[in-house]
């Protein structure tokens, strides 16, 4: 499974956890239990997200910073990032980095047989990339 080591920071709180690199996800999702530890403020209204099991409600808000780590070194940093937080604690088994986050900063190759995930800096600068 393409799991990476991440650090999340918000309002002076920090924690490290795992995250699934998911090319099938358009957004970035964080389990609600972790956002409570970080003290992330939840908006009053929820928004629907669509998963394999149907739609589910999420809080959409911003998180201070997400760092992607190799060992303990940061190789990708995303600041003031919009994330979706499923209201149901069991909705997602991991944090999920979707196409709106780490895929904007890296070209990613999944080598399933070797159980490797390769991250390369894109040849085209991120700002110039278009969908």
């Amino acid at each position: 499974m393409p799991l990476v080591h991440i650090r999340m920071k918000h309002n002076g709180n920090t924690l490290r956890t795992d995250a699934l690199v998911d090319s099938g996800a358009t957004g970035t999702f964080i389990p609600i239990e972790l956002t409570e530890i970080l003290g992330v403020e939840k908006p009053e209204k929820t928004e629907e997200a669509v998963g394999a099991g149907g739609t589910f409600p999420t809080f959409v808000t911003k998180i201070g910073e997400i760092e992607v780590l190799k060992g303990l070194s940061v190789f990708c940093r995303m600041r003031n990032y919009t994330v979706s937080i499923p209201t149901n604690p069991d909705a997602i088994p991991h944090s999920i980095l979707g196409r709106d986050s780490i895929f904007w900063h890296n070209d990613i190759t999944f080598r399933e047989q070797r159980e490797h995930t390769i991250f390369r800096s894109p040849k085209v600068p991120t700002k110039l990339r278009t969908w």
């Binding site: 080591h5 490290r16 389990p31 239990e33 972790l34 409570e36 530890i37």
Partner: protein
């Protein structure tokens, strides 16, 4: 030195699915609440940043 993420990935099959863990070096604090395991880890290791995750099941996953 192996960090907590790498350590947990190396022993993940031995852990109980569904539990939350907070890990500092090779010390694993288990429980059914993320807040609780982090609180215990911070109390035990106040100067360390714990690694936190929920142990997933080994079932096939479709998100």
């Amino acid at each position: 030195m192996v960090n907590e993420f790498e350590y947990i990935m190396s022993i993940s099959k031995t852990l109980t699915a569904g539990k939350w863990i907070a890990v500092v070096q090779k010390d694993i604090i288990e429980g059914y609440s993320a807040k609780e395991v982090v609180k215990q880890a911070r109390a035990k290791y106040p100067k360390k940043e714990p690694f936190v995750m929920k142990i997933p099941s080994n079932a096939n996953m479709l998100l």
